[in-house]
């Protein structure tokens, strides 16, 4: 029957599409690397200018975030906890906000304050420098100023990966 044949073909096509997707290797959103981190100077929410190269000697976790991005909001308190835990060992988190309008960040931080510095990249110059292709993006820089770890996106549980990397670099 006409309908049956076409139904089967369409169903076949959909199943094929499903198999293609399911069979594809799960792409990791994390990578280890070793490249100098591009230097930048950004104004912080507190008003001061912060230059990345002035932080050599410390391990720095740079997190690109926006108040409108759900996963970004979810990971902020976890980054705050990471910052508190390791700051005494020469570690800091830098939250780079990528929004044009600073009010988004201000209003979010009002409800959920954090200890670490929030830098304002409202012209997206640094986002472009770091080739940010996902929201959020996390880059961990070692004590010599080299990018050692890149993580794109955030899913519940990813903070364990951040912690692992930070622990390793803090010991160097």
């Amino acid at each position: 029957m006409e309908i049956k044949r076409n139904s089967l073909r369409a169903l076949g096509g959909l199943i094929l599409a499903g198999i293609v997707i399911a069979a594809a290797p799960g792409l990791t959103a994390a990578a280890e690397l070793n490249r100098p981190a591009p230097d930048f100077t950004l104004k912080s929410l507190a008003g001061k200018n912060l230059k990345l190269s002035e932080m050599t000697g410390n391990v720095v976790l740079i997190n690109f975030w926006a108040s409108w991005c759900g996963p970004c909001r979810e990971e902020m308190p976890l980054l705050n906890a990471l910052h508190s835990k390791y700051k005494a060992l020469g570690f800091t988190v830098l939250g780079v906000n990528v929004e044009e309008d600073v009010n988004g960040a201000k209003s979010f931080l009002n409800d959920f304050p954090v200890e670490f510095p929030i830098l304002l990249d409202n012209t997206n110059e640094v986002s472009m420098q770091y080739k940010v292709i996902a929201m959020p993006t996390t880059v961990v820089v070692d004590r010599d100023g080299n990018m050692r770890f890149l993580h794109q996106g955030y899913k519940s549980g990813d903070e364990a990966k951040y912690r692992q990397m930070v622990k390793k670099l803090v010991r160097e």
């Binding site: 997707i21 594809a24 799960g26 292709i133 519940s156």
Partner: protein, 364 residues
Amino acid sequence: MLLCGQLLAAVLPEERVDLLYHSYDGGGVEVTGPSLLLRKNIGNSVSVGLNHYVDNVSSASIDVVVTASPYTEKRVENSFAFDYLRDKSTMSLGLTRSSESDFDASTMALGVSQDMFGDLTTVSLGFAFGDNIIRQNGNDDFEETAQVRSYRLGISQIFTRNLVTALTLETITDAGYLNNPYRLVRYEDSTSSDGFSFQPEVYPETRTSTAISMRANYYLPQRAALRGAVRLFKDSWDIDATTYEIGYTFPYREDWIFDTRFRYHDQSSAEFYSDLFPFRDAQNFLARDKELSAFTSTSVGLSASYTLARGWSFIDRGSLNLELDWIHFDYADFRDLTEPGPVGEEPLYSFDAQVTRLFASFWF
């Protein structure tokens, strides 16, 4: 298997609870009831949804009043949805079951959706099949079936930071008993005191339709959104229809969001439709269902949404919403038989309906 190096992924549907009260009032028909939705993630990759919906119908519509007597009815529809997310792809399964005293429908829907080109494009494919069982109240011997198959392709595209569009193509085929066991057609009959008589409607056993729609949302400065959509429809029963929609959403102060919309629908009649056939059994197929006639429907709508205070324990945010739509149906070839007039020249029928939705949504 090579998928490109972009490491972006889609997101699962939002976790939420919606409690809605709906009401339709127009043309002698009143339908009210609740619709409850729960959407929850399980882990990072799976989302499940449950919906419970009820229609409490009280009908004294024009067809009912002319050929039968007012009735009340209750329809219950339950559905289950399952979504699986992996990187940039989402696979979905949906199961729906609807039942009322003389009609049962079961539907299964499968879908796959893929984000591509840096997440600027989303392609989705869907396939659904349904089985309907049609019975007749007062006639226990009557039972018929119909099968529905639908195939759908959707492509959504982000054009600029302020513009997103979507194109959808959907083909639906039905086979089986496609009409309504209660509905009648009328034909000229000089032997009857009214000048016309009734006989049961007769429909073809298959129907194939294709619809294509294009929609766009545009972000306006100072936070507002303008949207538009057009849908073109054509089917094997010769119905041609075009539907246009435009809408405008804007916030007010901190907590309010308002929406206004306008919709216009214009359709031609099915090839075997007639308000008055010249004599009994005039054609192989006979219909007098106003849904299949030539008509226009014009609607305006208003909505108000109030954001509730944020962050109580596990609830992220909540909103209270009221949505109202007023629809005017205007028939070009369906006559109001409750009004006096010579046979075939009774006044054309038209009516207004008000559709109300009052609901609370909570995201967690």
